[in-house]
């Protein structure tokens, strides 16, 4: 049974401390390291959305990169077409991402499960990418689209520091929203559906609606992460949303800890930092990446969040899969 603590538990206090401490980061970074920190925020959000579907809901839906791309492209296309400042395109991206999530949930609802679902959602992602390449008139084709980086409400968006604060606020808001979702009745229903769908349905819980909600929220979150990515790089290319990114996203979920909110951050940070740290060994990344992931899978089945959980009760994940 899960009880909700009315007072500020130790865990909640830590959760509030992290973003407050984070406010000081730009003082310690140069443009390069700040750029990497921004990337970490973006991937943390994307991983959060991904882990919600494959961890908490337990569905092997590999559509995350598709949502990410849909968010990035919709924000850029609509922003350019209507001359909208970037900040206003963020909810647009979320909306389109949510729509994508809704479409993806249709597959899950038809009883498609496990690997079949994985393959179908993978196909969906690749189809989107083919569209980006061949719908040149709208999407800029293989040249991609530049993201308009004019000033938004007096803020200079080309500054990595400004981007950092904006991303931090958005990420914290969406993290709070997701945590609330998971703690609510719907959240518990999501976990229940993962554990045993038929039994849950027999209890009178509308499992279809639960599945759709999880997918839609995931699409929303990841779509917004996509719009952040568009701003971060300044240009959207079709190649940024392919199979390699999917695999990295999925590794981030597992290394962080399946279904773990804190794990989403840990996994994203670890696997964003790793390629930068490996700059000294060009060409060895694939091997390193493969070996690191295999090692984590063998030694840390609950990921980094599980590891931290062993040392600090504050990090104990209540929604962990055994």
């Amino acid at each position: 049974m899960v009880t909700s603590a009315p007072t500020l538990s130790r865990r909640s206090r830590i959760l509030w401390l992290v973003p407050l401490l984070a406010l000081a980061i730009p003082a310690a970074t140069n443009a390069y390291t700040q750029f990497i920190v921004n990337a970490m925020l973006i991937y943390t959000l994307a991983t959060l959305g991904f882990t919600l579907v494959i961890g908490s809901l337990g569905q092997l839906a590999f559509a995350n990169t598709a949502f990410f791309g849909i968010g990035a492209y919709s924000a850029t296309i609509i922003g350019t077409a209507f001359g909208l400042p970037w900040l206003l395109t963020v909810p647009v991206a979320g909306l389109f991402g949510a729509l994508g999530g809704f479409l993806a949930s249709a597959a899950a609802l038809r009883g498609i499960r496990l690997y079949y679902l994985a393959i179908v959602t993978l196909a969906f992602g690749e189809l989107m990418r083919w569209l980006y390449i061949h719908a040149g008139v709208v999407t800029g084709g293989t040249d991609g689209l530049p993201v308009p980086l004019e000033q938004d409400f007096g803020l200079s968006l080309t500054s990595d520091n400004v981007q950092f604060y904006i991303f931090l606020v958005i990420t914290c808001l969406l993290f709070a929203g997701t945590i609330n979702l998971l703690r609510s009745r719907i959240g518990r229903a999501i976990i229940a559906v993962r554990e045993n769908e038929l039994a849950t349905a027999s209890l009178g819980i509308p499992t279809s609606r639960v599945i759709i909600m999880a997918f839609v929220w995931s699409g929303f979150v990841v779509g917004i992460a996509g719009s952040m990515f568009a701003l971060h790089v300044g240009h959207v290319f079709p190649e940024s949303f392919g199979l390699t990114q999917l695999i990295i996203g999925f590794a981030m979920v597992l290394v962080g800890g399946l279904g773990s909110v804190a794990g989403a951050a840990l996994g994203a940070i670890a696997l964003t930092a790793l390629p930068e740290l490996l700059r000294a060994f060009p060409g060895m990344e694939d091997i390193f990446f493969g070996v690191v992931v295999m090692a984590v899978l063998l030694a840390l089945p609950k990921g980094l969040a599980g590891l931290l959980g062993r040392f600090s009760p504050a990090f104990q994940q209540r929604y962990h899969r055994n």
Binding site: A31, Y32, T33, F35, I133, G141, T158, H235, R279, P282
Partner: protein, 392 residues
């Protein structure tokens, strides 16, 4: 302000704030005996064979250093991997500019990355010589600190189309390409050139990267009966395409890009008959194993003995030669602005490696305006100026 001194102090502070960064930037990356040059390239990832261009450039720098450097300074290359990925490329550029604090940038094989980092480079204002990537949008419209040291997509596409039209009687032209920006950077200008000369392509086909079969494309081409085929395909796909052309008895001449090489293609398809109709853009003064290129091969092997030399290996050397010429023109009192001014003064420089000379003016930073073509004549790879006309 309360007192005149305070006013003066404020004025000085403001002046320093404005001028300070500019002054600091001008000599960043310089010491009395070294110049730090950031060399970005796809050293890892599935485009890593392109990074041979950056290796060639760095070998040239080492050779210059062994001959004493430039005005008492050695050229110190700081390589950074882009993996041909825009996000990673921006990280690499920022690292070079803000962490490693280089004096200038030279390199870049991938156009997507170059386009993505352009904003950063414009903001930072340091000189950037694009030494391999071909996308025209990098250097057009002209930006003060960005120089293009290789033939751009426009130049290449036009050279391909011009060669195709130089064959007497060419009326029907077909195009096969990968659906990516690399291929389009060749075929779009080629199409424009053809159209300007009254020729509309009779067939436009795509072939996917990684395809192992070109039957559909070849059969369609057989139906369309073109006089010449323009193929913007990578090495593996080119070999497969040529092989399937031979298989189905299609004998049309094919014009390829600068991404493939005659010798390598011959090696891949295994027999001369399959490649005898194949032509490639060859932006060099000689065949890769010809006498004029020998000194460059030797140079690269001196510093990178295990390096497998391909046609990519030499493409960046020309811009390196131009850089050194400009550095020598400035002399020991070096700043970024002075280097840019010296680069803007390079006129008609014959590098001894590129088939066309390099010219940079303040209004036009696309330095190389032509490319030769290579084809098999009597079984031997030969550099050509036009159909049936050798380059000399």
């Amino acid at each position: 302000m309360k007192t005149g001194v305070a006013k003066l102090g404020l004025f000085a502070a403001i002046a320093f704030l404005v001028a300070g960064p500019v002054l600091a930037g001008e000599t960043t990356g310089l010491t009395d005996n070294s110049i730090k040059i950031g060399v970005m390239g796809p050293f890892s990832g599935n485009a890593s064979s392109y990074s041979k261009a950056e290796i060639g450039l760095m070998a040239y720098f080492k050779m210059v250093n062994d001959e004493g450097g430039v005005a008492g300074r050695k050229l110190v290359a700081v390589p950074a991997d882009t993996a041909c990925d825009p996000a990673k490329g921006i990280a690499a550029a920022k690292k070079l500019i803000y962490q490693d604090k280089v004096f200038m940038l030279q390199g870049n094989s991938c156009s997507g990355v170059a386009v993505a980092i352009k904003r950063e480079v414009v903001k930072a204002g340091l000189p950037w010589i694009v030494a391999h990537a071909v996308s025209d949008t990098i250097s057009t419209p002209t930006v003060k600190n960005i120089f293009h040291g290789v033939p751009t997509g426009n130049t290449n596409g036009e050279a391909m189309a011009a060669f195709v039209l130089s064959k007497p009687g060419t009326k029907r032209v077909a195009i096969v390409e990968h659906p990516n920006d690399w291929a389009h950077s060749y075929t779009n200008p080629a199409r424009a050139y053809l159209k300007a000369h009254g020729v509309d392509p009779v067939l436009d086909l795509t072939m996917e990267r990684g395809a192992t079969d070109a039957t559909a494309q070849v059969l369609k081409l057989r139906q369309a009966k073109p006089d010449f085929i323009i193929a913007a395909l990578y090495e593996a796909e080119t070999a497969i395409f040529l092989r399937d052309m031979k298989k189905y008895g299609l004998n049309t001449p094919v014009m390829g890009t600068a991404g493939t090489d005659l010798q390598d293609t011959l090696k891949r398809v295994g027999d001369l008959d399959t490649v005898k109709n194949y032509h490639v853009l060859h932006p060099y003064v000689d065949n890769l194993d010809g006498p004029r290129m020998k000194k460059w091969s030797k140079m690269i092997h001196k510093y990178y003995p295990k390096q497998d030399l391909t046609n990519f290996s030499y493409i960046s050397i020309g811009s390196g030669i131009a850089l050194v010429k400009a550095l020598k023109a400035v002399g020991p009192d070096l700043t970024r602005s002075k280097l840019i001014a010296a680069l803007d003064n390079i006129r008609g420089l014959h590098t001894g490696v590129l088939s066309a000379p390099i010219t940079w003016t303040p209004k036009d930073h696309r330095g190389v305006k032509g490319s030769a073509v290579a084809g098999f004549v009597d079984g031997k790879p030969t550099i050509l100026k036009a159909w049936g006309t050798p380059y000399e």
